[in-house]
């Protein structure tokens, strides 16, 4: 069936080429049937790639190790759900999933816009199919997911232990959806420039897709942070890793665009800025994909491999050059229709917000690509670490959170100064009360964290005031009870109030980041069973070691042959708080040269952290047991010498027993961080707010407004 999969790739390439040619011919000649045929090429591409994905999924689920991708990333003992998700754990499979998701989202976008902007959509179709052709070409020429080996190996290598985590099952498709959704506004932006149609219509058409891209990218970034915190053994959720940054960059420019597009919708301003943001966001999404796959920068997230770097560089260069050319050559069509009425206006606040967001993007872009720039200029690779990023991003983040509280309080066009002064009272009072409460509670010594708490309180106070006043106004107009008024207010103003909820989520998230990073207590030390250590206000006692052996033939085997850990008793002021069981898993390396026992333990060890998570704080623990003591090493050496491969597990079981008997010291990493859970709660609130903002109004409301609005509104407008 690999032949069917590869045939689908070739067919996909043909469909893309046909669709590009047909769309361009149709729009240039005015023959709509060819424009429609080009649009249907996207649907056909989605169908063909769905078949290809199904072929590969069936191979994974059916343990068909003739497929190289399956043999490299799965095994008979990999649990079923992880097998199904393993398709995107390899370079080849993830390229296929990327192209497939792009074709699905593009199909949806073109279906929803099939009756509008036929000329813009035709050019956009050609761009989308161009992207499709690029990614399919990468698979055909460099990274074929349907490459096979004959005879097929009896067993696969298995899934990377680091990926055996629930969030990692959905993190890639969500992140890829974010990346691929970024290409839709990019395609329509290029289409609008080529068709010279740069008014309100194209912005209206792509707004939801830009929002969806932002939502999926944000969710993908959050899931990655959760994986980092819960699975990697360093105790952090964000390390300014190159691949993490690469996903954040288009999210930042996308955030800027979602705000500034409102200015263009209302005032016909910032057209050059908006189209540039759209093009930049799409290009940054492609650059992010390039970073993960080219191996050009080191990252735990990267697939490695340098073979894909050159095609990506060519694509990115073409995108940048083409974008600049189009914007410059169409600048006469991108002139603003109005000017800023007042500095005291929501437009001004959004402009300030945009400058901060783009500034953040630039700082992170510079820091991420600095190793490449340094190497190109000086011949030596240098890099910047978290302290550098924190130094520049934290102040900008403070300004951003503060602005998220100012914007809701200011009117569009021009705010009345007296009203603005009055409207700031409650939010400022929230900020001041927060500051006094924190200082009174002895929370000091971290001015930036305190500033963030106050800015967040200001933002929350501002949004809370908006909800209160909006519901009060609704009650006055409609006479509804308060809860119903609140619901009706949000339903009738989804964009505004959904956006406010997003602001609340971001404020909560930043509070969690500030608290957990500024006030954490860390203790890295070596303990023997029975010994205790203090971390912050908590005492952690190493009660006893643990050891678990799971042979490969055991149904419970999930990859680790041996797991060594500890039982820890956590107390505070003498009261029991939690019992934690961190461990480290030792995996098969598959290298027969390491010996019958060595090969069972020689794979990359993976830390399985243990934590006690509450809203107020998190106690996080990781262990690094010492498997290199002379006694344990002797077991491995003797086992390698005397045991055949099928009996190596006997020595591993003996090693586990000796570990429990001798109870050696182990290295522990103990961290107590306040309010970590606020980060995840904030993320969920952001997602909820975004869904409210993006959700379409019910059809009957749209029909009622559409059918009756024009005559009624003309009469109503004429009355004034």
């Amino acid at each position: 069936m690999a032949g069917l999969g590869f045939a689908c790739l070739l067919l996909a390439l043909g469909v893309c080429a046909y669709g590009v040619a047909t769309s361009l011919y149709g729009v240039r000649s005015g023959r709509l049937e060819y424009v429609d045929s080009g649009r249907r090429s996207i649907y056909a591409l989605a169908g063909v790639l769905t078949v290809a994905v199904l072929v590969l999924e069936i191979a994974f689920v059916g343990d068909d190790f003739a497929f190289n991708t399956v043999a490299d990333t799965s095994s008979r003992t990999t649990p079923g759900l992880y097998k199904a998700a393993a398709i995107w754990s390899s370079q080849e499979g993830s390229l296929l999933v990327w192209a497939w998701l792009m074709s699905l989202w593009s199909s949806l976008a073109l279906f929803l816009t099939r009756k509008h902007m036929r000329d813009v959509a035709a050019y956009a179709t050609a761009v989308m199919l161009g992207f499709g052709a690029f990614f399919v070409f990468l698979m055909v020429a460099y990274a074929n997911p349907f490459a096979t080996t004959s005879p097929a190996p009896a067993e696969g290598v298995g899934l990377d232990p680091l990926l055996r985590f629930p969030a990692m099952m959905i993190h890639p498709p969500i992140l890829y959806s974010g990346y691929t959704l970024c290409t839709i506004p990019l395609a329509f932006g290029i289409g609008a420039l080529l068709a010279r149609r740069l008014d309100a219509d194209w912005i209206r058409a792509i707004r939801r897709f830009a929002f969806a891209a932002w939502l999926f990218l944000g969710a993908g970034v959050m899931l990655g942070a959760l994986w980092s915190y819960s699975e990697l053994g360093w105790g952090g959720y964000w390390g300014w890793d190159a691949v993490e940054n690469a996903a954040l960059l288009p999210w930042l420019t996308g955030t800027a665009f979602l705000h500034s597009l409102m200015i263009q919708e209302k005032r016909g301003m910032l057209k050059v800025w908006n189209v540039s943001l759209v093009l930049a966001t799409g290009t940054l999404a492609v650059m992010g994909t390039f970073l993960v796959r080219s191996g050009i920068l080191d990252s735990i997230h990267a697939f490695g491999g340098h073979t894909l770097g050159v095609p990506f560089v060519i694509l990115i260069a073409a995108l940048i050059a083409g974008s600049i050319y189009l914007v410059v050559s169409r600048r006469s069509l991108l002139r603003s229709e109005h000017r800023l009425d007042s500095l005291l206006s929501r437009e001004s606040m959004f402009l300030a917000n945009n400058i901060v967001l783009v500034g953040l993007c630039f700082v992170i872009l510079w820091g991420t690509y600095f190793p490449l720039i340094s190497e190109a200029l000086t011949g030596k690779e240098a890099s910047v670490g978290p302290p550098w990023f924190d130094r520049y991003t934290v102040p900008l983040a403070l300004v951003l959170v503060a602005l998220s509280g100012v914007g809701p309080v200011i009117a569009w066009r021009r705010a009345t100064l007296a009203n603005a002064r009055r409207n700031f009272l409650a939010p400022l009072a929230c900020a001041l009360l927060t500051l006094l409460a924190l200082l009174g509670a002895g929370v000091d010594g971290r001015p930036l964290a305190l500033a963030m708490f106050c800015c967040a309180a200001f933002a929350l106070g501002s949004v809370g005031q908006e909800f209160f006043r909006g519901a009060r106004a609704r009650r006055a107009m409609a006479g509804e009870p308060a809860p119903l008024a609140l619901v009706a207010l949000v339903r009738r103003n989804r964009r505004r109030y959904g956006g406010y909820i997003v602001h609340v989520g971001m404020a909560v998230l930043f509070v969690g980041v500030a608290a957990s990073s500024s006030f954490e207590h860390v203790n890295e030390l070596s303990l023997s069973p029975g010994q205790s250590a203090r971390v912050g206000a908590y005492s952690v006692r190493y009660v006893r070691p643990t050891a678990t052996v799971t042979p490969k033939y055991d149904a419970a085997h999930t990859g680790s042959t041996l797991s060594l850990g500890a039982v820890l008793d956590v107390t505070r002021d003498g009261r029991h708080v939690a019992t934690l069981r961190p461990s480290e898993g030792f995996y098969s390396s598959g290298e027969a040269a390491q010996g019958s026992v060595g090969s069972l333990l020689g794979g990359q060890p993976v830390s399985h952290v243990a934590m006690d998570l509450t809203v107020a704080r998190n106690v996080w623990t990781a262990i690094q047991p010492d498997i290199e003591t002379p006694a344990l090493k002797r077991i491995v050496t003797v086992g390698n010498r005397t045991l055949p491969p099928e009996d190596g597990i006997v020595a591993v079981a003996y090693l586990a027993r000796e570990y429990l008997k001798h109870r050696p010291r182990a290295e522990f990493n103990l961290i107590v961080s306040p309010m970590v859970m606020w980060i995840w709660i904030g993320g969920l609130i952001v997602i909820g707010g975004a869904l409210i903002a993006i959700w379409p109004a019910p059809a009957r409301v749209r029909a009622r407004v559409g059918a009756g609005a024009r005559p009624r509104t003309v009469r109503g407008l004429a009355r004034v």
């Binding site: 005015g30 049937e33 209302k266 009117a411 569009w412």
Partner: protein, 110 residues
């Protein structure tokens, strides 16, 4: 297995061809039904009118939203009565201009 792969591939190919050629076949059938008239090269004026209509409808929706937002800003205390009155008048005048342009494009609508 090889035969099955070939059959499945041909089926996928047939489905693709059917999907992408449908609009072209339909257009050809319409032309033949209309007596084999020469293929329309596209009416540039009609296309321009359709584009203008779409742009104006988008502008109209945006303007209605602005009017609602201004009212909400006033009712939530961000605008004084005087400022709201001035802004509302401006917005309604802009909306009337858009509606007038729409009416001129579609003269048969009531």
């Amino acid at each position: 297995m090889a035969v099955l792969v070939v059959i499945l591939t041909l089926l996928v190919l047939a489905a693709v061809l059917a999907v992408i050629s449908a609009p072209i076949r339909a257009a050809r059938a319409r032309r033949e039904a209309a007596g084999g008239a020469a293929p329309a090269g596209g009416d540039a004026e009609e296309a321009l009118a359709a584009r203008t209509l779409e742009d104006l409808e988008a502008a109209r929706e945006a303007k209605y939203r602005e009017i609602r937002d201004a009212e909400l800003d006033y009712r939530t205390g961000k605008l004084s009565r005087e400022d709201y009155g001035a802004i509302d008048a401006e917005l309604r005048a802009e909306a009337i201009e858009i509606l007038d342009r729409l009416e001129r494009l579609k003269p048969t609508d009531a």
